[in-house]
Amino acid sequence: MSRRPLVREVPPTSWYFRHPRYMRYMSREITSIFVGAYCVLLVVGLQRLAAGPVAWEAFLAALKNPASIVFQFLALVAAVYHAATWFNATHKAMPVQIGEDFVQPGVISGAHYVVWLVLSFVVLYLAGVF
């Protein structure tokens, strides 16, 4: 009796459709498209800021066009999804051991969320939102 193992190929372009877990992973990874594009927008904004008040005001005005509104919304969703998945995963990379016990993962993630909220409110305050 000889061995004749059968190899099952993994379809390289559609494997992620096979399980909801993989779809969630790909969704997380795809946030990088929107975040990356948003960063490009920030670079453009810096150029407009450097070019003077007229250019800057034109940049702010251009943000109001419908395509931009849709993009801003998608970028916001992507950024928040990135943040949530990042904070939920941080405790895995940095376990905190105190004596024989480990700090609960929820505490570590929770602390990140708290810092995130505080930082966000500080930025919103500095930006004059309230």
């Binding site: 795809i30 990088s32 490009v40 810096l46 109001k64 509104i69 990135h82 930006a127």
Partner: protein, 113 residues
């Protein structure tokens, strides 16, 4: 096989991912508000210019933009591979060069302010 030089790209990716997580959502919120017609007072030219003119302000803006660009580029490189695009070296080159170019451009513009 020899030890990898992956840390060169991974470490800034991890730092950038953290920066994106903490700062990008609120920054997007600000521009989203501006897009909807409620431009926050802090986004006006005088205040933005004052912030970017400041040395600390420059460092903060550059840090956020450069690290976020790099982190997005690295993740996008890995995502291309996951989507079946096997030309990893090509994807890596294009994406990392784009991130570096964006970072250099940011520095140039910041130095003009």
């Amino acid at each position: 096989m020899a030890k990898s030089h992956k840390p060169v790209v991974w470490f800034p990716f991890a730092a950038g991912g953290t920066v994106i997580a903490f700062f990008i959502p609120v920054i997007v919120l600000l521009t989203f508000m501006a897009a909807l017609g409620h431009v926050p007072a802090g986004l006006g030219y005088d205040r933005m210019h004052a912030f970017a003119a400041n040395g600390i302000g420059k460092l903060i803006i550059f840090g956020v933009v450069a690290l976020s660009l790099w982190s997005s580029a690295h993740r996008l490189r890995c995502t291309c591979y996951d989507f079946g695009l096997r030309a990893d070296t090509l994807a890596a080159t294009i994406l990392y060069v784009a991130a570096i170019a964006g970072s250099i451009a940011s520095a140039v513009y910041l130095l003009q302010i």
